[in-house]
């Protein structure tokens, strides 16, 4: 300010006093601003962590609901397949059987083939229904469910299936974890059948200390991990990871083109 003032003379002590007070005020204000910035950033970090935690909790809830709906849908479809379509195919087979008796030899052969196909379809349908009824399978226990799965895989694929199982039932009494492990196994096998073009698949279910590890490895064509990270939905890998994380487990997928793939899930007991 260019204020024009005629000033009275002041003593040096007074001048010093004023300067000291003004300096103290200035530095206190500056310190206040610095402290304010630090406090603000600290509040910001805490708020961010809280929001992240809430987001994760929400996502876990959403995923849990999604899985519940999925399981319920699969149960319904499985029942429908078994009850309705299975019956229709049974009737078809029976009808073909009754027609065949009164036909010429060449036509009889065709009818017998059609009958065999419908019987095969019924068998496949029953297996599929059984596999879709995950919860019902898990009622028998994870080991029994895996045996059913491996049995189906051996009979229906061109795969050489080997397994190594050292496992007792989950002590925590939660079927949830067994069901997740089973679904992960199914998803991995599904990927092997659809994408891997493998001839061998090895399944391990090992219990060590406080963890259970499920590993599914094949000798198929493998894939580029970077490509799949960009689009994980095609192999259901994102879903595997989310399901495992939801139950405090971890999921590792290792794949090298032409050298096969290994999916490994580790879950606390």
């Amino acid at each position: 300010m260019e204020l024009f003032i005629l000033l009275p003379v002041s003593s040096e002590e007074n001048v010093k006093e004023i300067i000291i007070i003004a300096s103290v005020i200035f530095f206190v204000t500056s310190a206040f601003l610095l402290l304010y910035i630090i406090t603000y950033n600290r509040y910001k970090r805490v708020d961010f962590k809280e929001k992240e935690r809430m987001k994760l909790a929400f996502e876990a809830e959403m995923l849990k609901s999604q899985i519940e709906v999925q399981e319920h849908t699969m149960q319904t479809i499985a029942s429908e397949l078994h009850d309705n379509i299975g019956q229709l195919l049974g009737l078809t087979s029976f009808t073909l059987g009754s027609v065949a008796k009164h036909q010429k030899a060449s036509e009889q052969e065709k009818i017998e083939t059609a009958k065999a196909l419908s019987v095969k379809a019924i068998t496949e349908l029953r297996q599929l229904a059984k596999l879709m009824q995950g919860e019902q399978l898990i009622e028998m226990g994870l080991l029994a469910a895996i045996e059913v799965e491996l049995d189906w895989l051996t009979r229906n694929g061109n795969l050489n299936v080997t397994s190594k199982i050292h496992y007792h039932a989950f002590e925590l009494g939660r079927k949830e974890k067994e069901l997740v492990l089973f679904r992960v196994l199914q998803e991995s096998i599904n990927n092997v059948i659809k994408h891997a073009k493998a001839t061998e698949v090895h399944i391990e279910l090992i219990e060590v200390d406080h963890y259970v590890t499920l590993t599914v490895s094949d000798n198929g064509i493998g894939f580029n991990m970077e490509d799949i990270k960009r689009k994980p939905a095609g192999l259901g890998l994102g879903s595997l990871e989310k399901r495992t994380k939801m139950l405090q487990g971890s999921c590792k997928v290792i794949s090298v083109p032409t050298k096969g793939t290994t999916v490994s899930i580790k879950m606390p007991k």
């Binding site: 300010m1 260019e2 204020l3 024009f4 003032i5 000033l7 009275p8 003379v9 002041s10 040096e12 007074n14 001048v15 004023i18 300067i19 007070i21 003004a22 005020i25 200035f26 204000t29 500056s30 206040f32 601003l33 304010y36 910035i37 406090t39 603000y40 950033n41 509040y43 910001k44 708020d47 961010f48």
Partner: protein, 214 residues
């Protein structure tokens, strides 16, 4: 001519240039007001110096007029800042009423040709209070931003630093006759405060410009 351009005027001129370059095309009307306000302040300081240096006359009346513009601008800034957090303008209106009484009191006491020190001191105290209230509202709003580049924060910081220290200087009735490089000590202190004040304001203009660019 050189005598007319003091360190204070240089600082204010630089801040005006910053306001022109960073805010002239800002979409927000309040921010665009900074340039005309700072231009007015610079011209007023220039004219005040002319009156005191070349005509050797009192320039208090000019500062009494500038006090009105300064009050209007500062209250406008805080009104806009508080709008985000509060539903009413009671605080602002209350402050304006107090200043109106103070201005009238000063005018009644000594007329228009003597500087309105009481109004000035009250303005400083009110602005300090508003700055602290703003910081409190900003912290508790939980709408967190990158504070380093948040324009209103630096605007209010400049106000807080300037008015807290200048209040003490103004409130002390020991006007400082001691000369430092041919300038009164009081003048030197205010020049330093102005430097800090306008630097922070210029930085806030830059932050505003940066925000709009992004």
């Amino acid at each position: 001519m050189i005598n007319l351009i003091s360190p204070n005027i240089c600082i204010e001129l630089i801040a005006t240039i910053f306001a022109y370059f960073y805010l002239r095309q800002d979409k927000s009307k309040p921010w665009r007001l900074f340039f005309p306000y700072l231009l007015l302040v610079t011209l007023a300081e220039f004219f005040a110096r002319y009156i005191s240096t070349f005509r050797n006359e009192s320039n208090h009346w000019l500062y009494n007029i500038m006090l009105i513009f300064e009050t209007a601008m500062m209250f406008f800034i805080f009104d806009r800042l508080f709008k985000k957090y509060l539903n009413n303008r009671l605080m602002i209106i209350f402050g304006l009423v107090i200043l109106l009484f103070a201005y009238s009191y000063d005018f009644y006491q000594h007329g228009f040709l003597v500087y309105n020190g009481t109004t000035r001191d009250l303005l400083s105290l009110l602005l300090l209070l508003y700055a602290l209230i703003y910081f409190y509202l900003f912290l508790t709003a939980k709408n967190y931003v990158v504070i380093r580049y948040y324009p209103p924060f630096w605007l209010v910081s400049g106000i807080l630093l300037f008015y807290s220290t200048s209040t003490i200087i103004n409130l002390s009735f020991m006007k400082l006759e001691i000369y430092v490089y041919q300038y009164p000590l009081r003048y030197v202190i205010f020049a330093l405060l102005n430097l800090i004040f306008y630097t922070l304001w210029s930085y806030s203009f830059y932050c505003q410009y940066r925000q709009k660019k992004m």
